[in-house]
Amino acid sequence: MWDYTEKVREHFFNPRNAGPLDGANAVGDVGSIQCGDALRLMLRVDPETERILDAHFQTFGCGSAIASSSALTEIVKGMTLDEALQVSNQQIADYLDGLPPEKMHCSVMGREALQAAIANYRGETWVDDHEEGAMVCKCFAVDSVLIEDVVRANNLTTVEQVTHYTKAGGGCCSCHEGIEEILSNVSAERCTAPMPPSLADAPKPAAQPIAIHVTKPATEPAARPRLTNFQRMRKIEETIEAIRPMLQRDHGDIEVVEIDGKNIYVNLKGACQGCMMEQATLSGIQAQLVDALGEFVQLLPAGMLGLSARR
């Protein structure tokens, strides 16, 4: 059960100013039925002084949504419109002695209804620019949309950086897996390195261990003349050279270390090294090599060189 303050409970059980308002000349409708919240704020504004004479609300929502609406009407009564525009969602939450972090959006909805109602009175159209995501960090009430925006704007790559920028993940650490997922999603969409065909159109990256990733050659291998060893080596080098600029654009790079039969050992360098998309990058390059050579090859990290020699 939610840990509601006495004030929230009181405003929920005995909401002030509930129901339609006769003579309302400013109405703000906000919310989203999808999220389970919708609020209509009705104000009666004195045209002379622009003072709010009365305020009523109708709310579809949970306990804290109804309490926030009730609090909002109490706060704005008697204010001028300009004063009312200064009311922040924190003020609504403070009026109720605080809201649980997951419920802060109820106070945000109250502030938005107020802005929408005032816009309605002034004959303007109010545009909602507020987007809300699922709560990721419960310690500091940070949602997924905020984290994603900050990650994108600042090219963040680690959980630690996200914590420094947003505080998310700086408390109990239980959301680190969720933050990592956002990081890998964002880096997947930004990464220009080749992707394996299976991932190229998939929105989410799915890490696949390269050793078992078998990409079927796009063309029938038998149709091509067999390459000599030298031709084959050149072909591999040419393919890798063509890919390098893409990796360099992402501040990464690749070098071929050894070619042993169907195993090609490479080093990923720079930003590609340790990147969350490392496996996908390797799979993508492997697919291109398979295509260019017309035979199945396996791209392996150079670190595995010793391992396979023992086999």
């Binding site: 409708d29 919310g31 579809f60 929502g61 949970c62 419920k103 699922a134 890490a207 261990p209």
Partner: protein, 401 residues
């Protein structure tokens, strides 16, 4: 005014007889069942009896097919991870969109690691399409995991038929039966079900005890290693007091099975009819003709579930809701969404789940209390106008986020 507990699908009260059976295991019977001395011996005897009681309740052929775990979630995870590990040549899971998060969240995680997960959809009444299921079964299917009864609506799935179909392609079949065990008769030896999860606290045993039924000759890999307990299939010293409690609860569940399906069902039907007769724009979700005898899930349109629960709670009535707000997530229950219940109704779903302890007086009190609460909240709702939903021309159309 004594409180009325109608949230038995969430958890149940421990039966007094169960508590009594457990008490000696906190005091004189404190021994470790594995020990060679008499302290351990008696505990081992208690575990054996409990195992047989659970075996009888679910109709298992052998008592060694019962593995005690810590909870339903552990049983679910053990079953699915074992099926994948024991059959490396198979990497697909078939499950449903309405499973408990214990299954869904695990599948989502496995998907990221490369496992292919198929999720069967449901229709408006929460029923599966068997033809769709048939088309997904293949030699690559490692395990099918389908719940016996849905926790939110009580809708029953044809798991016995589905298990037989899974067997034809050599796939394992697991069912999360935490809601069904004790409420519907189960006879596993006559089925092709390979694994079944149950949870003690859903049938008047304490929390922290679960069971994984594992059919003999089913390939298995343990989740926990480090001891010979449960024949090495679940290491860790046995939770002897809770196991004995579960044994007692299983015996009682057998005794009350008939009662569950007659008297409890009658009270459930009375509650449902009583509320629906007074509240317009309300309907039962799921498949009313084929569901658990104790569960009623009613959608009240144009009002929000958490607000209903808070007002019910003020009158001492405990139920639960599929609204987004009760969980802190942004979306309403995945089960309601899967059935295509509109948002205006999905947020207002209330689940009443009864037990054998509920009385007719209690049910009548709820029938009296609920309708005014809905009316009171609808008065506050911008979607509601005096006596009905707002007409289309003046409909509430907020600026959506």
């Amino acid at each position: 005014m004594s409180p009325i507990y109608l949230d038995n699908n969430a958890t149940t009260a421990c039966d007094p007889a169960v508590v009594e059976a457990m008490l000696p295991y906190f005091t004189e019977q404190f021994g470790n069942a594995s020990s060679m001395h008499s302290f351990g011996n008696k505990v081992a005897q208690g575990l054996k009896e409990a195992r047989v009681a659970v075996q009888k309740l679910i109709g298992a052929e052998f008592d060694s097919e019962i593995i005690f775990t810590s909870c339903g979630t552990e049983s679910d995870s053990t079953a699915i991870l074992s099926a994948l590990k024991a059959q490396p040549e198979r990497n697909q899971i078939i499950t449903t969109v309405v499973e408990h998060p214990a299954i869904l969240a695990l599948c989502e995680h496995l998907e990221k690691e490369g496992t292919v997960v198929h999720r069967l959809k449901v229709d408006k009444k929460g029923r599966l399409d068997i033809d769709e299921y048939k088309s997904l079964l293949s030699p690559r299917t490692a395990i099918v995991s389908v719940m016996w009864a849905n926790n939110e609506t009580g809708t029953l799935f044809p798991v016995e038929q589905m298990a037989a179909m899974a067997r034809t392609v050599g796939a394992m079949f697991h069912t999360d039966a935490v809601q069904a065990v004790g409420k519907v008769p189960i006879d596993l030896k006559k089925s092709k079900i390979d694994m079944l999860s149950l949870s003690g606290h859903k049938l008047h045993a304490p929390k922290g005890i679960g069971v994984l039924y594992l059919r003999r000759n089913t390939r298995f890999r343990p989740l926990l290693r480090g001891g010979h307990q449960e024949r090495g299939r679940r290491a860790g010293t046995e939770n002897s007091a809770s196991i004995v409690g579960l044994g007692k609860a299983a015996e009682q569940a057998m005794e009350y099975m008939e009662f569950e399906n007659t008297e409890v069902k009658r009270l459930r039907d009375r509650l449902e009819a009583g509320i629906l007769a007074q509240v317009p724009h309300a309907f039962v979700t799921g498949d009313p003709a084929n569901r658990l005898p104790n569960t009623a899930n009613i959608a009240f349109e144009y009002v929000e579930g958490e607000a209903i629960l808070l007002l019910l709670n003020k009158q001492g009535i405990a139920a639960s809701s599929g609204s987004a707000c009760t969980s802190g997530s942004l979306e309403p229950s995945h089960v309601m969404r899967a059935m295509g219940i509109p948002y205006t109704a999905a947020h207002g779903t209330i689940r009443f789940s009864l037990s054998r302890y509920n009385t007719e007086e209690e049910i009548d009190r709820v029938i009296e209390a609920a309708p005014p609460i809905i009316a009171q909240l609808r008065k506050l709702s911008p979607y509601w106008n005096e006596s009905g939903p707002t007409a289309a021309e003046q409909a509430f159309a907020p600026a959506y986020a």
